[in-house]
């Protein structure tokens, strides 16, 4: 296996808009024009699953890979893990080809719809995984016990995996991914099968891992969860990475409207505001006036004050990641990579 010189991917990086960035330190994960073309076995017709994806992950960040089904997220992840071979371009783990087993020594991976050996118990499975990492017996047993406790599986440590629910299997998947204290965690749909408490625990766990310096690459359909924990996200569509950036950066176009909540609103003012194009709704015992421009906000607030109307709250409503995601997919503007 080739071990590429660090300088080779030092220039591979993506800025907020996805363009290349110069003079990066060695990225923990670098994708350089990564492309995967499959051929239909019958017709030999080519199908591009991943198309020229270029990306660099910084140490200690949580990166969310987003996209609809069939966008190429899982194929990208498989190439990152060395499970699929790129048709062109390359993926590098800490400067190494992921097909080199040594490159995967500090990697943790949770597959999508994870499934583990039915005939084992969680303790046995984690012991088996520890052996694959060549961890010493005492170390792997103690680490396994810690992780089972941390992921709420300690009470089920001796239960056969065939009796595990989907949520419990997902927790075990996270435990096996964390066993070797990875520097890069690759999680394919980590929130899948988890209840709200489980999701909150996983988010907390990922924050703790980030604080400890672990880099996380996760793919997810649950955009609200992704928005809450990711430092940066990349949006994939039809195999292409169409947008990359920090969550606040992507949403900086930001405030879509302001909601002004007031205790009472005279009919005259309500009619005036409606006439000026603002939305006015009665919500319970309050009135909500929605304005979309900053200047209009000042004007409306001034008039409310002049009429001595108590303003209960002024809240900006920002674009959510989900709304941005839908717009990005519909628009598919400047391709980033």
């Amino acid at each position: 296996m080739k071990h590429y010189r660090p300088i080779a991917n030092a220039r591979i990086g993506a800025d907020r808009r996805g363009g290349l960035r110069e003079a990066e330190p060695l990225a923990i994960l670098a994708l350089d024009s990564l492309t995967k073309v499959y051929r239909d076995p019958m017709t030999l017709k080519p199908f591009t699953a991943v198309d020229e994806v270029t990306l660099a992950l910084e140490r200690g960040e949580i990166f969310g890979l987003l996209g609809p089904n069939g966008a190429g997220k899982t194929t990208t992840i498989k190439m990152v893990l060395g499970l699929a071979n790129p048709t062109s371009g390359r993926a590098l783990l800490d400067g190494r080809d992921p097909r080199d087993p040594e490159a995967r020594r500090r990697l943790g991976y949770l597959p999508e719809n994870a499934s583990f050996y039915d005939h084992l118990t969680p303790t046995e499975y984690l012991d088996f995984v520890g052996e694959l990492f060549e961890m010493e017996s005492g170390v792997r047993k103690s680490r396994a016990a810690t992780l089972l406790e941390r992921l709420g599986l300690a009470a089920h440590a001796k239960k056969p995996l065939r009796k595990f629910s989907k949520g419990m299997t997902q927790r075990l998947g996270l435990a096996q991914a964390l066993l070797n204290r990875p520097t890069l965690l690759v999680l394919d749909e980590p929130m899948s099968g988890l209840d709200p408490i489980g999701r909150a625990e996983v988010k907390q766990l990922l924050r703790e891992e980030r604080a400890a310096g672990t880099t996380v690459l996760l793919s997810s359909h649950v955009l609200a969860e992704t928005e809450a924990i990711c430092d940066r996200v990349g949006i994939m569509k039809s195999g292409r990475l169409i947008e990359v950036g920090s969550v606040p950066g992507l949403l900086s176009s930001g405030v879509r409207e302001w909601e002004i909540a007031v205790e009472r609103l005279p009919e005259r003012l309500a009619a005036e505001f409606r006439g000026e194009g603002h939305r006015v709704d009665a919500v319970g015992s309050r009135w909500i006036v929605r304005v979309t421009e900053g200047r209009a906000l000042q004007d409306v607030l001034g008039r409310l004050c002049r009429d001595s109307i108590f303003v209960h709250a002024v809240e900006p409503r920002r674009q959510t990641l989900e709304e941005h995601f839908v717009r990005a997919l519909a628009g598919d503007g400047g391709a980033a990579s």
Partner: protein, 254 residues
Amino acid sequence: MSRILAIARNTVREVVRERMVLVLALFGIGLVVASQVFSPLAMGEGRKIVTDFGLAGATVLATMLAIFLGSSLLHKELDRRTIYAVMAKPIRRADFLLGKFAGLWATTGLLLTGMTGIVLAIVTVSYHETPWVVLGALVLTLVELAVVTAIVVFFSAFTTPALTAFFTIATVVAGHFAEDLHFFGRSGSAAVAGITEAVYWALPHLSLFNARGLVAHGIAVEPERLAFALAYGALYATAALIAAGAIFERREFR
């Protein structure tokens, strides 16, 4: 090496926890019943019949188990997606296959040894004499099992469970008749002789490992034959596993 052993141990555990003990128990009961039924009809040849019948049954059973467990072992990993988490660990694909081979061979080998032990016990109890020469045949059959298991692993590296089982059974059957094929091929045209010569060398010469008839008559396996069979079996199994590893290395996980 420890990774190969971990995969092998897991494979043994998987098979043992699912079917192995049941197969062994059924064989033991079947053999006891059969020996009691056939011995009175054997006209003084009961000991020979129980030994021959028992060893042949054990060999067929262990071989079939190796073929059918082996043909689905890799496919099951892919189908249940258990292989994805394993292959993301620092393990070479060839080592994974080697672990699977070692686990399957150990399992079927243990089964064969257990069944041979049952044969020995029945003969000892029924005829007050322990035919230790059976152990020579056991060693040869264990090597044969290694060859068959390596062939299963080779086919399973690139094809479906059904085709793996079919190709392996075809190879094993043809392998037992390799000498006959060679003999008949030489009597044909030059082209036929050339093809049969190539097939003869490619097929495993499994008749080399069959000493069951010999030991049933109380004759020990010669050390020279044992050594040659061991060397040939090791070489053949190694070649099959290297080819399997090379193919599996290129395989895409979709």
